[in-house]
Amino acid sequence: MSTLLQDIESQISGVKTSVTKQNVGVVREIGDGVAKIEGLSDVMMNEMIDFGHGTMGLALNLEETEVGAIVMGDYLHIKEGQEVRTTGRLLQVPVGKGLLGRVVSVLGDPLDGKGPIANSGFYPVEKIAPGIIKRRSVSQPVQTGIMAVDAMIPIGRGQRELIIGDRSTGKTTICLDTIINQARINRAAEAAGDKDYRPLYCIYVAIGQKQSNLARVIKVLEEQGAMPYSIIVAACASDSATSQYLAPFAGCAMGEWFMDNGMDALIIYDDLSKHAQAYRQVSLILKRPSGREAYPGDVFYLHSRLLERAARLNEKSGNGSLTALPIIETQMGDVSAYIPTNVISITDGQIFLETDLFYQGIRPAINVGISVSRVGSAAQVKAMKQVAGRIKLELAQFRELAAFAQFGSDLDAQTQAKIERGKRIVEIFKQPQYNPVPLEIQAAILWTVQNGLFDDVPVEKVKDCQNKMTDFFTSRKTPLMARIAKEKAISEPLAADLKAAITEFKASYK
């Protein structure tokens, strides 16, 4: 009882008894989640505004006689003439490890019914990206578990790699595979008690997605055991344009907490096309001048300031990193549209997915010709560099020569061999969804291809042979795989052992 009395006393004494000064304004116009307010002479850009009844807004337009603010949450109770007041606070979201395994709204409120979130603090949604002095170059890999990506378009921690393609070409699947693979690696490192391993936490930001799609994503992550290492920020299609506009910034703030505390995080923005559309909607209602395709003039700055926050920090600044995988949905494969070209120019490379390849059965449907990773190769482990160096060239040569494939009988032996090798490489890179391949298996399989040990296997049996070889490596050659994983390079003795293992497998393969 005495504690209760003390609590009440401290709360009463905490209330200021002096006169309070507030800055107030009056709602002049309200509609579509945007309010025009007169007054608020001391309001700051991006400051939270209190509309009463627990509804908050965000000041976005500071004009001579009025303030344009977007309302977060329900705005139907706000009326013309209502008094609003400034709060002196910028928009903040909860951050910390307590968010892992949770599905949260843009403001960090739980949506999964698992109770309140134990956060470690709050971070502002808008923050200036780390400067050049705090950064270092990308040097550690992000293992996606997708052979085509890890071998030919490697991604490093701190990189921004765009995933671009038409609808239903597997953009989200690539990201989910990456999250699942990271969870698998994190779990393995935890089980082995590896203290040097730096876990990679994943944040998935759903912007303007159908709720059914998001439910499917959550189900997949839960089934694959990836949720304990992931945060999902949801701003679905039914949420306001304001929420969809703020969602990537909120997710980024959550990721920045991991980076600032010396940890590594990966953030997926699914997708920035819808984000640009939401921002266009908000800007048009705020009566900001529109430009190309009715987008506001600062749509480039919107995405550049968001993606610049992905960085690899140097040792002095904690050695953390934030990797960004933005997604852009193209229309009819047009990468030269406004938003795709903007984001392509901001990011450090792109993975381009094609509908034609998807329907040819090449999945993931990555067009290797126009996909590129500008900084990731510096982060690629040596084993992958050794085996994947020539693969991209051979695949490119195959694409050049593929047109002649139908005249096979007229081709010289060397060209024929290149085409046959290319066909096998294409088969090797086919991979079912939610089935990431560990690094050591990837290295062993690609070493086999590079050394022509798949050349005597018929093309239609390559996939079957690869699957059986993977089983053989994981069940009977575990020490060899462990050596590749540990050494992260294929030395001469290791290559000899690998060759012996493959010969042993091929003797038994039918």
Binding site: Q11, I12, V15, S18, T20, K21, Q22, N23, D42
Partner: protein
């Protein structure tokens, strides 16, 4: 009504011409409105609408509304007006209202600044704290 940039600029020009020693001159404002209405300049209605908004904004900025549970004594009113004039500059217009909902104390609004020393505000703060 959509107000163009040119209209806003014209309205602002008219507003500036109505200032005398930094304060709005009521006679000039009336004369300006009469002249614009008589001359019927291009987009004159939009110009006057924005001009009215600027005048309203300026009046609000210079209007002091004092709400009190019991109206303050003339001596206290004089002290208060002097203090506020020192802080916000000369030319303030004071209006006093009795508001029993405040229970006790004063609530002073100058433009968009509110100084709330009422019992009601303290009770609301206490309620929010619990």
């Amino acid at each position: 009504m959509k107000i163009s940039k040119l209209t806003r600029r014209s309205a602002k020009g008219l507003f500036r011409s109505c200032l005398a020693n930094g304060a709005l001159d009521e006679a000039r404002v009336r004369q300006t409105v009469t002249t614009v209405l008589a001359q019927k300049l291009r987009h004159y209605l939009a110009i006057l609408e924005y001009f009215q908004r600027l005048v309203r904004w300026d009046l609000q900025r210079r209007t002091v509304r004092v709400d009190a549970a019991i109206l303050p004594q003339p001596g206290l009113q004089r002290d208060m007006e002097q203090n506020l004039s020192r802080r916000y500059g000369a030319g303030l217009q004071f209006s006093y209202q009795q508001n029993s909902a405040l229970i006790g104390g004063l609530r002073i609004q100058v433009g968009s600044d509110v100084f709330d020393g009422s019992i009601r505000a303290r009770l609301t703060a206490l309620q929010q704290r619990f």
